[in-house]
């Protein structure tokens, strides 16, 4: 039987192993849940307690409450959810220990001692987690709180707690329980908001340890093994968090690393800096090609993750390379930022850890800091003696330009003024991150039109100049604009640069069968450059740039998805398979079939608006200017 129980533990461990990749993690979690269910069933069967209504009532009530909580909880509330669950796990173990102690069935010193220890560790976890959850939920202030003579009180409680473990019996059990509860509260009291990732990890670990110890008086190997695994997990996270904040566990728990007062040197800094940099960031944003976004707790507070997602989309629509850099302790628990961004559908490939983003930043044109402070504060490297000195940071300061979207210029949690704010290449956009991001998004949304004369065509020229294979897709718009001459010229320029050019012709492009072929033949484009729908479609995926000239419905991906529309089911040229799509159409209005073109909104699509002969001329001049 014990071997069977250990098999369950092994299954759960294998489930965790599957958590090494987002692709298999869902399965891993399900495996763990299945193993847990089996373990509960076996426990009920083995002890012959299947028919106790009390047990089923407990399981029923717990399932209902747990289910509702898990379904109702918002992603932004995940830190307090995890903290609360830590507490319940510890509390359950403490209660198990308490019942065992009251029953007085334990035999021998070791059993007595481990029963007491179960109560103590469990109650400590419960007390600490309850306060942590309350702080995270905003019920209690997140600031570190101290009792008068806090250190002395902690010492006394610690000594009494330890001493109480050497007594057995009913009275001792209640004393252990109460002392440990108080101890947990005293411990978490002094921990403030930004140190929560460490505290939560530690409590996570302790909730496992409590379960493991409860396994001793019960002589249950499953509790011991699984509790040990959970303990190890929390311990690893605690270690990682401590390393990432460059703090020792002891200094966090004794509240020594945070400055509670508000330093008074930031006034007068805000207004001038902001005014001076108002125009800078717009230019930096428009010109940047490699952008790093660094979110922090401020993003969570302002609930600006949707805006961050839109920022990423808009930047990518402008063909910028965007990476999101996440500091291990950004937010209130390990992986906090990752969860928030995953919730708004930011693909996880875009999220990079500190090491990866720090390799990217020296070559980045722009770093956008959203509600992050201490984790990007260069003072961590330069100012010995400050609490954050030596803490590894994300080097936002290495980017050519930095936009800081923070609430104000107050020092961060550690109380150290952020020297980043004073550097010349930094623009401060102060205020609620949601609002400042909207401002930035507003700027990004309109530029296409504003700079239509030069920028998109310049961008298009750049893509073409870097391409190895280009496919041109003409449509009726080319005929209307009489742009076939420019197409011919462009083909010559591209071929002169050694770029392979093909032309893809849709059977119904234009107003008659073979319309495009005729127009292109007219300007002496050899017919062996012209490819039919079936010939060209497999080629798009290996193509660098597709240039659409006045074609609309025949390249509209909606034909494959939009049921009920006139074009549904029509074979199209699958231009969206290419790396870049440049569309030289007169405007964005729907084509002949009246179905809006889904292509235009794709992130890799660059829209060059205007008369095709005009826009093609611009693109050609960009290419020839480059030599």
């Amino acid at each position: 039987m014990n071997y069977l129980l250990l098999c369950f533990a092994a299954l759960m461990l294998y489930g965790i192993k599957l958590m090494s990749s987002p692709k298999t993690a869902v399965l891993g979690n399900a495996l763990g849940a299945g193993a847990m269910l089996a373990a509960i069933a076996v426990a009920l069967l083995e002890a012959g307690i299947l028919t106790y209504p009390l047990l089923w009532a407990g399981l029923g009530v717990g399932t209902a409450l747990g289910w509702v909580a898990a379904v109702k909880v918002l992603m932004i509330q995940m830190p307090q959810m995890v903290a609360a669950l830590n507490g319940l796990g510890g509390g359950a173990s403490a209660l198990v220990g308490l019942v065992l102690a009251l029953q007085g069935e334990a035999v021998g010193a070791f059993a007595h001692f481990t029963t007491g220890l179960t109560i103590a560790v469990g109650a400590l976890t419960f007390g600490g987690s309850a306060l942590a959850a309350a702080k995270l939920h905003g019920v209690v202030s997140q600031r570190p709180q101290e009792l008068p003579r806090h250190a002395a009180v902690v010492t006394v409680v610690t000594v009494l707690s330890l001493a109480s473990l050497f007594f057995a019996g009913r009275t001792a059990a209640f004393v252990q329980l109460i002392l440990a509860l108080v101890f947990g509260v005293l411990l978490t009291m002094r921990v403030g908001g930004a140190d929560m990732p460490i505290t939560i990890s530690l409590l996570n670990s302790l909730s496992g340890v409590a379960g493991a110890i409860a396994g001793f008086p019960l002589k249950n190997p499953l509790l011991v093994a699984v509790g040990g695994i959970v303990g190890a997990s929390g311990f690893i996270l605690t270690q990682i968090m401590c390393r990432a904040m460059n703090r020792s566990l002891l200094s966090i728990l004794t509240g020594r690393t945070t400055v509670t007062g508000t330093p008074s040197r930031e006034s007068g800094l805000e207004a001038p800096t902001q005014a001076a940099s108002a125009c800078q960031w717009e230019q930096a944003l428009a010109e940047a090609e490699r952008v790093a976004i660094i979110p922090g707790y401020g993003m969570a507070v302002a609930q600006a993750q949707l805006q961050v997602k839109e920022l990423i989309d808009l930047l990518e629509a402008g063909h910028k390379e965007v990476k999101v850099g996440i500091h291990p302790v950004a937010g209130r628990m390990p992986g906090h930022m990752n969860v928030l961004l995953a919730e708004v559908d930011v693909p996880y490939e875009k999220l990079h850890d500190m090491e990866a983003i720090n390799e990217f930043l020296p070559g980045a044109d722009l770093a956008i800091v959203v509600g992050a402070n201490d984790v990007v504060n260069p003072a961590a490297m330069a100012q010995p003696g400050t609490p954050i000195y030596g803490m590894p940071i994300i080097r936002a300061d290495l980017a050519k330009h930095v936009m800081v979207l923070n609430y104000d210029t107050q020092p961060g949690y550690a109380g150290v003024p952020n020297s980043l704010y004073e550097e010349p290449h930094v623009s401060l956009l102060l205020g609620d991150a949601k609002e400042t991001l909207e401002k930035v998004l507003g700027f990004l949304r309109q530029p296409q039109k504003e700079v239509a004369g030069g920028r998109p065509s310049a961008e298009a020229g750049k893509f073409l100049s870097q391409a190895e294979q280009v496919i041109i897709v003409p449509g009726y718009g080319m005929a209307l604009a009489a742009a076939q001459h420019q197409v011919r010229e462009l083909v010559d320029v591209l071929q002169g640069r050694g770029i392979q050019v093909k032309i893809g012709i849709h059977p119904v492009a234009g107003r008659m069968p073979g319309h495009m072929n005729v127009l292109l033949a007219e300007v002496d484009i050899p017919y062996d450059m012209l490819y039919t729908l079936d010939e060209i479609n497999p080629e798009f995926s290996s193509t660098d740039v597709v240039l659409v000239v006045g074609a609309n419905d025949v390249v509209n991906p909606a034909a494959q998805t939009a049921e009920g529309t006139p074009i549904y089911g029509m074979p199209i040229l699958s231009v969206s398979d290419a790396r870049h799509v440049v569309v030289c159409n007169l405007d964005r209005s729907p084509g002949y079939a009246g179905v809006p073109n889904a292509l235009y909104n794709m992130p890799h699509c660059l829209f060059v608006e205007g008369d095709a002969s005009q826009t093609l001329r611009e693109i050609i001049s960009v290419l020839t200017e480059q030599g």
Partner: protein
């Protein structure tokens, strides 16, 4: 099962857990933690045994409470982990 063997199991499980969990990328640290919440609900097994053996009303109530706490952990832990993991999608759009 002897205490010595149990201690050995604790050590081995902790070390194995340490190795396996070290491989979990920081991307998934929050789901990892909530998954651990669920696993720490393993105490439910102890709670069931303790509650079944309780002989007074007070102890039965404490046992009942322990079962409720631990079951919340198990159910909410796995569910919330599942919810989170489902959100992580690849940029390739597959799945």
């Amino acid at each position: 099962m002897s205490y010595l063997l149990l201690i050995a199991i604790l050590v081995v499980a902790t070390l194995l857990g340490y190795r396996v969990i070290s491989e979990v990328p920081s991307l998934l640290h929050t789901p990892l933690m909530s998954g651990m919440n669920a696993l720490s609900g393993i105490t439910v097994v102890g709670a069931l045994l303790a509650a079944a053996g309780a002989i007074t009303t007070g102890r039965r109530f404490l046992g009942f409470l322990a079962i409720v706490f631990a079951t919340i952990n198990v159910v909410a832990g796995f569910l919330v982990t599942h919810r989170m993991l489902k959100m992580f999608r690849s940029g390739g759009g597959s799945e």
